[in-house]
Amino acid sequence: MSCRQSELLDAYFDHELDLVHSLEIERHLEECRDCHAAFERRQSVRRVVEGGSLYFKAPASLESRLRARLSELGGVRRTQQSAGRLSLGAESSSATARASLGSVWARWVVSLAAATAVAFAAYFVMRVETRPYPSPEQLLAEDVVASHIRSLMPNHLTDVASTDQHTVKPWFDGRLDFSPPVVDLASDGFPLVGGRLDYLAGRPVAALVYGRRKHLINVFVWPSTESARESSGPRSVATIQGYNVLHWTKPGLTWWAVSDVNSKNLDEFARLLQEH
């Protein structure tokens, strides 16, 4: 296993390669027996790891201990802060006293120290604000909006255009490895428009399209990953370019909704979907 591509094998395995390199590796895997075998080994180990329950969940006692410690800290900080304010007052009044002795030098030192402190604070704030990573959720929200915008281009909205849930749902059979729940909410003012296949979070997903007067809502559904099994209610993840993005989970399924309808309507829509 000494070919050049073997260096990229793990990145390909982890879906970290761009399209051009991915295609290159895919071609290579068909030709190179060694790399192909290595790839199969990676898959085997991942399957074992996934089935191995190797994840150590925090013991419940840790969380309660931590919560107690944190609220204690919160309390302590409050008293410390007020105490600090008092002593700071004392210090600055003594500083004033000293300065009033007429020492220009002392005044210099004080203002220099203040300027340094301000510069430090500014530096720190800037550093923190330019933190490099948007969260995976934010990135996904951006992808959701991008998919929504793409879907609005001519002929991209639906693969199966139907207001009938009994037409849309079976359409997904055989096209996805799961069966997305499809309900019509026409009686609530959100008629089903159709469905299509889309690609998000590194996998094919079901996209369901609903209407709201002149507006469209895209709903994306796919099976949850291991780590997100519990359900959570709809919450607003982001507003990007005027589109509201909501996210919620149900046992086994991850849901995203995106639209330019106002957030109140979208909330209502998400709630209706979740209840079904």
Partner: protein, 189 residues
Amino acid sequence: MAVDDKLARFEQAVLPHLDAAYNLARWLTRQSADAEDLAQEAYVRAFEAFDGFRGGNARAWILTIVRHTCYTWLKHSRSQELETPFDEEAHSSAAADSTPEAALLADADREMLMRALQELPVEFREALVLRELEGLSYKEIADVAGVPLGTVMSRLARARKLLERSLTAPKNKDTSQGMSREMSKGSAR
């Protein structure tokens, strides 16, 4: 009131990642009691630094602090583990002897996997845990571990090769013995 608000915000943003924090600490220290203490310590530090946190990826943020806390602890109580350079030569030469088959790997059970993963040098173990168990991207792992992206890629590649080999090595009652035997075999070469 501002403090209560801070506590509430902290609990909402960072506390949901307690499992991730504990899991990483558990894998880095290989001890449950120490992992609990260190996870808690990391959370206390994070709470104190929370004013500087401007949103974004709270999980990567807390994991960075957990990692730092654990490494400081390892330096004090297990300095040996951090200082022993990893004998890449010895390991890769042994790897050349036998290329494991995918089918053999599929038979590995949880016990073997735990042991194999625990025996990996800490930086490889950390990369695998963050990638396979936590599902972090290369970029996130690079941020948490404070290393370049390319290093993440090569660490994961090496870690997986080591793991594959360790999983298909002849079974020993005590694999740490097996590992050191392999190491001495490699260096005697």
